[in-house]
Symmetry: C2
Subunit: 274 residues, 2 copies
DNA sequence: ACCTGAACACCGTTCAAGT
DNA sequence: ACCTGAACACCGTTCAAGT
């Protein structure tokens, strides 16, 4: 069991016609009814904010717990509701949809990835950004598979992070016509390696699966794939595809470093060309 | 609706006790019962192989069609079965599980990404590899989100591809202690950018969602995020996070090129250091 | 404003039974 | 060997109704 996805309701029609909560759906303006808690000012009255009432925050952290424990496959709104002792429908007052909740999970885990700018060289700043992102993914490996899908184009990510990346690039000396491309390079580099490194293994029976893959690996015909056969001992469980544990159990530190240094060296080269 | 995932059966117990099909589950050896079609020699008898019978191939291509049309969210085994005019349980004779089918989908789409080695410089060979992979993802964008989870450690990927990558790296002149790291860099680079570029947008209502994000973008406070505000016109819909279409409708060609060239330049640098 | 309770239309997977 | 048919234990989401 790895990535994959499901849904019951085939297509959500429009999303406009609905009555109360979750304005997220359709209209351009978000200041529509003012009713939806999804967009209301949070904890404005103070008081017992930590009380027994539900809240989006509480739901999000319950969701993160669920995902950390059961994986993305085992994740369900109903489980979250159960763990909070409420009816599934109660969750829907605070969350527009299952996917909305997952987007919030990504947002919550990725907050504060971007270091403060100014104190480090642009190279070191990027190194720090990349390792922080990797740390987040290491701590919540099952969220990794969400990153690709949600971080791409999303309200989730704080404009602050974008602003910081851009200003670091500008300070580094990249020309105006390079900035956007380099920004995209940074984002892709930030998540590219680690999402693979910590992607969850595709089974509920790790032991059997590991054995199966090891056997498959050992049955590779050296005559047909000589180079692979030669490097197999060095690669086994230390490289993508040819491994039976993920980054949680078999970290790929040196390759991650190589990936980061490759990217930075490449960027230095792009800088020199301008 | 974007990534996310679901499952009904909480945990699949063991997987061993089962009777017939899909030996994939547990034991290390795969030559157990000989009954499971999942591991049987394909189309050995010849004859009307293209007849009316089911087959894993037929199921896989039906699945790909489904995924291309309805996205990963709308994908279900039952729909696949429906489109083939059979009962859901019939699919289970050929496929161990829903996730097994998805792994096969990845395998099928990613076959033949690796160019033949020998005719190109290692740099051009990698350029070709990366663009081919991007082409596959462009053609099957909804499969993209599967890549991260399935390509990582998987029987899916042919040893041939691994062998070719390795031999290109060796021919390029990388030292023995660099090969594995560089292989990992290549794999991560291969899928890193494009999976983001073509990640599906998180809604069933693209128009409304686009409007919403555009409004959100235009409401960014220039005082708080000056650099972002400055580059916003250049970035809008052309960069990660700040966009409302994915690579299908708004390709990111120049950034992809920058990403590839950055990686290659970085690898040249690593080569020079040795 | 926020939640209960029940319902609807789906799932993946299993298992006997047919042919 | 391969498929039908029915069942099981789940889903996400909606909607009235309570408080």
């Amino acid at each position: 069991m790895t990535t994959s996805a499901r849904k019951s309701t085939r297509v959500e029609k429009t999303g406009i016609t609905k009555k109360g909560p979750s304005s997220t759906g359709a209209d351009s303006g978000r200041a529509r009814a003012g009713a939806s808690p999804a967009s209301r000012p949070r904890s404005k009255k103070g008081g017992t904010t930590g009380g027994s009432g539900l809240s989006k925050e509480r739901i999000i952290s319950a969701a993160i717990e669920q995902i950390d424990r059961n994986g993305l496959m085992g994740f369900s709104l109903r489980d979250v509701a159960r763990s909070l002792g409420v009816y599934p429908s109660a969750v829907y007052w605070h969350v527009a949809t299952r996917d909305d909740l997952l987007a919030s999970v990504v947002e919550a885990t990725m907050a504060d990835v971007a270091p403060e700018p100014g104190k480090l060289s642009w190279q070191d700043w990027l190194r720090e950004l990349f390792s922080r992102c990797r740390e987040v993914i290491r701590r919540h490996p099952n969220v990794a598979q969400l990153l690709g899908g949600h971080l791409v184009a999303n309200a989730s990510l704080s404009p602050g992070m974008i602003d910081r990346i851009l200003s670091v690039l500008v300070a580094a000396g990249f020309k105006n016509d390079q900035i956007v491309d380099m920004y995209n390079v940074v984002i892709a580099t930030m998540v590219g390696f680690s999402t693979l490194e910590f992607a969850s293994m595709p089974t509920d029976d790790p032991a059997g699966w590991a054995a199966q893959l090891q056997e498959k690996v050992s049955s590779i015909r050296a005559l047909e794939f000589p180079t692979l056969a030669r490097y197999l001992p060095a690669m086994a469980n230390r490289s993508f595809i040819v491994r039976w544990q993920n980054g949680t159990d078999a970290a790929m530190d040196s390759s991650f470093r190589a990936y980061v240094e490759t990217a930075i060296a490449g960027m230095e080269r792009a800088l020199a060309r301008a």
